[in-house]
Every structure is written in structure tokens, then in C-alpha cells.
Amino acid sequence: MANIITDETIEYVGILAKLELSDQEKEQAKIDMGRMLDYIDKLNELDTSGVEPMSHVFPVQNVFREDVVTNGDGSADTLKNAPEEKDRMFVVPKTFE
């Protein structure tokens, strides 16, 4: 494996992804991520200079909607996704800001 993931990197990625990993999981994740980066290195061997990066598969552009309200009260459906609900709102752990 050419790419070695350090402890600091796995720690940082964990913070970004809001994941808490056990030591064993961290070791496994380091190996997995190293392999992924090796694969990207492989892809990078291909010369793509002069090739426009493709962000969309279909040659479609300018898809718009008019500024007209089409949706009614969606709270009942939306709140079905709330593990916990209070005053028609989602309850989440105490959050800064």
C-alpha cells in the first residue's frame, strides 16, 4: 500500500464525519482509506489534460421553475422523520449557536 493514513488524519476525518470509532475500527479504516487512495492514484495515471471535467451526464441546461408556491403544509410528513419531536420541531442534542 503506497498511501499510509496517519493517526492524526483518521482522527480529523472522524471529527468531520462526526463518527466515533473504536481503536480497532480506526485501524481498519486506515487500511480501507489507504486502499481507496491507491485506487485514485491508479486513476490519476491516465492523462486527462485537455479533458473538460464532466459534472453532468446529460446535455441539459437551464431547467427552471416559476416562483409560484405549489406546496402546502408539509410538516406532518417532514416530522415523521423526527426521532423525537417537540412543539412541531425536531429535537436534537444541545447544539452550539
Binding site: 431547467v63 427552471f64 421553475r65 416562483d67
Partner: protein
């Protein structure tokens, strides 16, 4: 302080656009809906939902860009900015990183040293996040996604400002441009305009930029000015003490007049932007640009000039009236209805501003119509009501936008123009106040004032004091 420092400030300004619906779905953007009422699978990031761009948002963004002398990106795209936070259910914000809609613009501000250009680095379109409400009782946070997906533009300036005054002037300028376009009401207190301040200090004369901090949570012009002053001093103190400024995001606490660094764990960011595959690119045609250009309103600078040429009103009035799009519209519409410009301006400058100040309202909150203001002016001009009554009627009109003609009629406030009735009252007053009559006849001119007052009282204010005066003199 041994050295002289210069403050370098750049701004990131978020503006909520006045579209009726969200940026990518048909949910309402109306303020104050019951929690989560204005939500759907798109603005809550449900898998498989498909965002579609609101055309009005693009029009507003381009209009603001043109007004701020920007280059419009003819082929632009949306990108996903990835982060995890409870206000953002889809775990990414749709924004623009690589190809923002506008670039390289400028606006001109007035400074004590003359006009100055502040560069606009870019303007991009993006969606707002939901609102977090802290629950004091349960020590948890509640989330309302009504604001999730509300259309925003973010206006990123160049680091061209050097003082709090310049920052305020720049924000005022943006606010006026955007209000004139009708693209937003730009109220800092209500969050429809929000500014983050990037600030660094450097030794005067240095070309190199110092390390900057970003200050958030600034919701009034006063808070912005105080935060700039506070942060400038904090950074200078650090440098003077031989320490260095740490690049970080700080949160301003206006109550305590101090800022604190947000913990690095919360601040950790690696947004891993990538193009949003759900939203096809936007290609802007020359026709589209022409259409927007043709619709651009007359902005303040031009309006000021035109007022000076067209209306015989003081420069100060012009400054105040054109300082609010709503007030300028009201002024022009009332004049167009035939009212004399100077009279219209007087009502706006004196009574209107007084009530706005008393009730801590903005000119944008004025609710009475130009028709009613024109009618009120006509009533005073034709001497149907006197000025005291007019002020009373105005207060009611300001509050309830009543039709002054009807109100005056219904309340019986019209001046008594019936010469006979007036004469009768005057005669009665003369008969009832022999002492004052005697004083007047003995040369005490002032005594007539008392008699005028007595007559006005007897007429319940519905007489023209000038006519009363004249009649009294005649009869005495």
C-alpha cells in the same frame, strides 16, 4: 502604542431574496409560518428528491450583479458544500464555488476623503439553513426547517475597507441597491441581511496582509461597528505583546461587547465541494441579460440628480427621501397625483419621520397610500381642514391608511366655511369676553389672540384661525 496600524476589512454579506418560494422547491418563504409547515422532501434533503432552480432567484442575482458592476458568468453551476450540522438535513448546502454567477464588481462609497470604490470579489447563489432554537427547559435544541432552502445570495467583497465607517457605508450602499431592485428588504435585525466581517491588522505602509479572523453573529450596524473596533484592538494588543493572531472564527456577543473563538472542533471544516449532479448548469444568454438590464430601476444616484432638477425641494429632503426606495416611490406617486412636491416632502420629512422615530419603524414600514396622502394635502390646500386637524387625521392615516376625505366627513372635522355660523360664534365670544374686548380696544394687540382661541374652542377646532382673526378685527 508604538507603531501605527492599519485595519484591513473584507465582508461576506448574505442577503435573503424576496422570492415567494424557496430556491429549489415550491415551498413558501413567508416569514412566521408554524414550525416545519414550509417543508417538503426537497428542502429537507430526502433521498431521491429533485431540486429545480427558481428562475426569480437567478434574475435577482443577475440584477444585483449588474447593479454592482460585476461580470456575469455566462455558464455557471451549483456545487455541494458538505458539512454535518442539525440545521442542514441534507448534510450539504447547495452553493456555488467554482463558477459563481457574478465576479469582479465594485460599488462606490462616500468617505471623508471623497468617493472610494470597494471591490466585489464575487456573488453566488445558495440556500439558507434551518433555524435552531435552544430549549431552556429541556436543555436541548429544537429545529425548524422553514428557513431551509430559502434563497440567498452571498456577496463577497475584496479586503478594501479600512474602518468601521467604511464598512457601514458599504453595507448601506448594498442595502440601497438591493432594496431599489426589490430583491430583498435587507433587514439586519430580522436576518434578511447578515454580515460576516473578515478583519486583519498590519503596520501602516505594509503591503502584506496580516492573519485575519472571521467574526459572526453581527445583527445591527451598531454591533458591526463595535465588533470591528473590539477586534482591531484585540489583534493590535496581541501583536504589541509579541504574540500572533490565530486564524479562526469568532462569535460576537453584543451584550457583553466581546468576542470569543468558536471551539476548533466546531470550526473544523473541510467542505469537499463538488458539482451538484442534480442541478443542470445555467447558461445565460445575451437576451436574458438584456431583459434584466432593461428592467433595472433608476438607482439612488440618478434619482438624486433627477429630483434636484425636477423638484424644488431642499437637498437634505432629497437625501432622506431617496435613502429609502419605499419613501421615494411614495413621494413620486403622490406628486404624480397632483400634489405639490414641497408639500409632499414636508409631510414625509416632518410628521412621517417623527412617527417613524417614535415607533422605531423603518421607512419601509410606511403603510399609507400615495392616494390618501394626496387627498390629505388637497384637503389642507382647499382649507377644508386646518393644520391642527390635518395632523390628527395624518396620525390616523399613518396607523390605518384611512381615506382622509371620508374620515374628515365621518368625524365632522371639516372647517365651518359657513360665514353666518362663524360670524355668530364670533359675536358670541365678543359678548362673553368684555374684558378682552376692552383690552384690545385700548391697544393691547395681544388680546385678540385670546379671542381667536376662544372662538376656535367654540367651533371645536373646525375653523380657519386666519378667517377668525380677520372677522374679529372687522367686528371690533
Amino acid at each position: 502604542m508604538s507603531k501605527e496600524y492599519e485595519t484591513v476589512i473584507g465582508l461576506e454579506v448574505h442577503v435573503e431574496l424576496a422570492a415567494k418560494t424557496k430556491i429549489f422547491c415550491g415551498c413558501s418563504t413567508a416569514f412566521g409560518g408554524s414550525p416545519n409547515a414550509h417543508t417538503c422532501p426537497v428542502c429537507t434533503g430526502m433521498p431521491g428528491s429533485l431540486p429545480v432552480l427558481n428562475k426569480k432567484v437567478l434574475e435577482y442575482a443577475v440584477a444585483v450583479g449588474l447593479a454592482a458592476n460585476c461580470e456575469i458568468t455566462r455558464y455557471c453551476k451549483f456545487d455541494r458544500k458538505n458539512y454535518f450540522y442539525p440545521d442542514n438535513p441534507q448534510n450539504y448546502q447547495i452553493s456555488q464555488l467554482y463558477l459563481p454567477i457574478c465576479r469582479n464588481g465594485w460599488v462606490e462609497i462616500d468617505t471623508p476623503d471623497g468617493p472610494k470604490k470597494v471591490g466585489i470579489h464575487e456573488i453566488h447563489m445558495e440556500e439558507d439553513a434551518g433555524k435552531l432554537i435552544h430549549d431552556e427547559w429541556e436543555d436541548c435544541t429544537l429545529v425548524d426547517y422553514n428557513r431551509s432552502g430559502v434563497p440567498l445570495i452571498e456577496i463577497v467583497s475584496e479586503p478594501d475597507m479600512r474602518s468601521a465607517d467604511e464598512v457601514i457605508a458599504y453595507l448601506e450602499k448594498l442595502r440601497l441597491i438591493i432594496q431599489y431592485l426589490g430583491a430583498s428588504d435587507c433587514k439586519l435585525q430580522e436576518g434578511s441581511m447578515r454580515a460576516d466581517v473578515n478583519l486583519s491588522v498590519r503596520e501602516k505602509g505594509s503591503e502584506q496582509l496580516g492573519t485575519r479572523t472571521e467574526m459572526k453573529n453581527l445583527n445591527s450596524f451598531r454591533a458591526i461597528a463595535r465588533a470591528i473596533e473590539g477586534e482591531k484592538n484585540r489583534q493590535i494588543d496581541l501583536l504589541e505583546a509579541g504574540e500572533s493572531v490565530v486564524q479562526e472564527t469568532r462569535r460576537w456577543d453584543d451584550g457583553k461587547e466581546t468576542s470569543y473563538a468558536m471551539r476548533s472542533k466546531e470550526d473544523a471544516q473541510d467542505y469537499r465541494y463538488f458539482p451538484d449532479p442534480d442541478l443542470p448548469p445555467v447558461s445565460i444568454s445575451e437576451e436574458f441579460l438584456e431583459e434584466i438590464r432593461a428592467r433595472q430601476p433608476e438607482f439612488r444616484t440618478e434619482k438624486r440628480k433627477r429630483y434636484k432638477e425636477e423638484f424644488d425641494i431642499p437637498d437634505y429632503d432629497i437625501e432622506i427621501i431617496t435613502g429609502s426606495k419605499h419613501m421615494a416611490d411614495l413621494f413620486e406617486a403622490t406628486v404624480a397625483l397632483g400634489a405639490q412636491p414641497k408639500k409632499v416632502s414636508n409631510w414625509l420629512m416632518v410628521e412621517t419621520l417623527r412617527i417613524l422615530k417614535e415607533q422605531e419603524l423603518d421607512p419601509e414600514d410606511i403603510r399609507f397610500s400615495p392616494e390618501n396622502l394626496a387627498k390629505l394635502i388637497a384637503l389642507t390646500e382647499s382649507r377644508a381642514i386646518n393644520s391642527t386637524v390635518a395632523k390628527e387625521v395624518f396620525e390616523v392615516m399613518f396607523r390605518e391608511n384611512v381615506d382622509p376625505e371620508r374620515y374628515v366627513e365621518e368625524k365632522g372635522l371639516k372647517m365651518v366655511s359657513d360665514e353666518g355660523a362663524l360670524r355668530k360664534t364670533v359675536e358670541e365670544v365678543i359678548a362673553a369676553n368684555p374684558q378682552s374686548v376692552q383690552d384690545y380696544r385700548n391697544g393691547k394687540e395681544k388680546a385678540i389672540g385670546f379671542l381667536v382661541g376662544q372662538t376656535m374652542k367654540a367651533m371645536k377646532g373646525k375653523a380657519d384661525p386666519g378667517s377668525v382673526n380677520k372677522l374679529l378685527k372687522e367686528l371690533l
